[in-house]
């Protein structure tokens, strides 16, 4: 007898619980891609919650994937703090000049209150509208920057590293403030209707900060912050390699780990199963130039190696599909998941 087709929500929660759903869940992290779908500029697209809601629903149906993504752009938290955002035609809005010009300003830094901030309210409105439309059928993913990684946007990465290594007192002050903001921001999204929070934390990757320093600095902040977020979280290292810190991340209590295209598939499965669900790891940049056969092969490879036993959500490895990826590649990825990702998996399937 053919198994019943699960809703996206059931599919994802089954994978999260280390069991095999009807098929491998697919998350296409389509944020600014919605502007392309709507045929409008990135700036115009993100100016109105209605645009994002309409695009998310259209793209969910078109690509038959398993999440609604309430992420606007990483720089929105900096924008909420009064920082400059630079828009480009075909890419994500980026931060302009650092919002914290000098470490001496950290002591008196006031971070915004989420519920009265114009920028952040736009995101909450998107989540509320999406929830009203889909109820519990489709998971809605909210996003925060980790306190440890947000500081790189606040100060600029170079200045932040100098603060981290040479001025621990100011570093700790900034982390305390960022953590309070992050918890409030994550919980506001959950209250608005998000089902899980993607906690972007590229600086936790040993590609960026060596493990020993991370464990002594950002890691305690991550543990503290994650423990106060009132819903499931995905620690996402935004393309950064995860293997050397996998066990540490499992200990934070995060339910999901966003892994890198640089991580070895066999080893990551071995290190994580059945303790944390994996999210990844299609190379979003190479995807720009794939043909449909390459897309199918990549999907198949990940499913074959990481899919058995559940605990895999197929996604790109960065948390954002680039504007330049052709629609036909996203459709090919989706079709390949329908073809190769049906449980029980069949590694010999042509």
């Amino acid at each position: 007898m053919k198994a019943r087709t699960m809703t996206s929500f059931e599919r994802v929660t089954t994978a999260l619980n280390q069991r095999e759903p009807d098929q491998v869940p697919l998350f296409l992290f389509l944020s600014l891609y919605g502007a392309k779908e709507m045929g409008m500029s990135v700036q115009k697209y993100f100016s109105q919650p209605d645009h994002v809601v309409t695009a998310q629903l259209k793209m969910k149906a078109k690509y038959r994937h398993d999440c609604l993504y309430a992420f606007f752009y990483a720089a929105i938290e900096i924008e909420a703090m009064g920082g400059e955002v630079v828009y480009t035609d075909c890419g994500p809005p980026n931060t302009g000049q650092p919002v914290i010009k000098s470490s001496s300003k950290i002591k008196t830094l006031d971070l915004p209150r989420v519920r009265t901030n114009r920028c952040l309210i736009r995101v909450l409105e998107v989540i509320q509208q999406l929830k009203a439309k889909v109820g519990t059928g489709d998971p809605i993913i909210g996003v925060v920057m980790s306190p440890f990684s947000l500081a790189a946007l606040q100060l600029g990465l170079g200045k932040y590293l100098e603060l981290l290594y040479f001025d621990r007192h100011s570093f700790r002050t900034l982390m305390q403030k960022n953590s309070v903001f992050c918890i409030e921001w994550a919980n506001a999204q959950l209250e608005a209707g998000a089902d899980a929070i993607c906690y972007f934390n590229p600086l936790a990757s040993p590609d960026l900060i060596e493990r020993k320093t991370y464990l002594n600095t950002g890691y305690p902040i991550d543990k503290l912050t994650l423990s106060q977020i009132n819903g499931p979280t995905a620690m996402h290292l935004a393309s950064g390699m995860t293997l050397p810190v996998v066990k540490d991340i499992i200990d934070t209590g995060a339910a999901v780990l966003g892994f890198s295209s640089q991580d070895d598939l066999d080893q990551i499965k071995q290190e994580t199963y059945p303790n944390i669900c994996l999210l990844g790891n299609l190379n979003g940049l190479e995807m720009v130039h794939w043909n449909t056969d390459q897309a199918r092969q990549q999907v198949r490879l990940i499913i074959d190696k990481v899919g058995p036993g559940g605990s895999l959500i197929l996604a790109d490895n960065h948390g954002e599909i680039p504007w330049q990826v052709p629609e036909k590649i996203l459709l090919a990825i989706s079709e390949a998941v329908q073809h190769y990702g049906r449980y029980p998996l069949d590694g010999n399937k042509k």
Binding site: V86, G96, L161, P322
Partner: protein
């Protein structure tokens, strides 16, 4: 020879620990014993090279690479006047960040090149293709180093190349940054003469590209 190898090892260790006091002490000891700036330059260059290679292999972090560069840049600045060694002025090199304001890569490359004795012009960050081309022509640059953080800005290197060609300039372009590291074919696609996967490729790429 064993003595200099031991100093390189010790200095590398201090850099990896981000211990600027210890790094300065080691260099000072070497300089006092040999009074030879070239030896200091060798210690710095080989240590940074070792750290860069380690980063490429996933052994060391970007923070260790960057902070080592910051420490070495400060040390080179403090020894250059004493050693009275002139920086290399040819080829004329400039560096800039296309489109965005994240200048970490630029800073690392600048540190590595300065530590290797190169002088370079800094065009800054947040540059449009038009602006970087105008500055390049205005300063009669031989080699342009472009740093990018995100894919859209990396793709704009093609526009820079095209504008330089339209202006009749044959300036060589070397690119670097995350998009080029994650997609090794991207440099070629945007028309760069070379793409570095780490800042430490810069010295060898400059020598290679400038000779062609």
């Amino acid at each position: 020879m064993n003595k200099i190898r031991a100093s390189i090892k010790e200095f590398t260790h201090a850099l990896l620990q981000i211990n600027r006091t210890e790094a300065a002490r080691i260099l000072n000891r070497c300089y006092k014993s040999e009074n030879d700036f070239c030896q200091l330059e060798q210690i710095i260059r080989e240590s940074l090279d070792h750290i860069g290679t380690g980063w490429e292999k996933g052994i060391f972090s970007l923070a260790q690479v960057y902070m080592s560069g910051v420490i070495c840049e400060q040390l080179v600045d403090s020894y250059l006047p004493q050693a009275a060694v002139g920086p290399k002025t040819a080829p004329k090199i400039a560096i800039g960040v296309l489109e965005d304001y994240h200048s970490l890569g630029k800073r690392i490359v600048s540190s590595v090149l300065r530590a290797a004795g190169y002088e370079l012009l800094d065009f800054g960050s947040g540059l449009s293709p038009e602006k970087i081309v105008t500055k390049t022509i205005e300063h009669q640059v031989d080699l342009l180093l472009i740093s990018t953080l995100m894919l859209p800005s990396a793709l704009k290197v093609a526009e820079v190349k095209q504008k330089l060609q339209h202006a009749g300039e044959k300036i060589k372009i070397i690119v670097g940054g995350a998009p080029f590291r994650l997609d090794p074919q991207l440099g070629q696609r945007v028309g760069a003469d070379a793409a570095g996967s780490t800042a430490f490729d810069a010295v060898s790429l400059i020598e290679k590209v400038y000779k062609t």
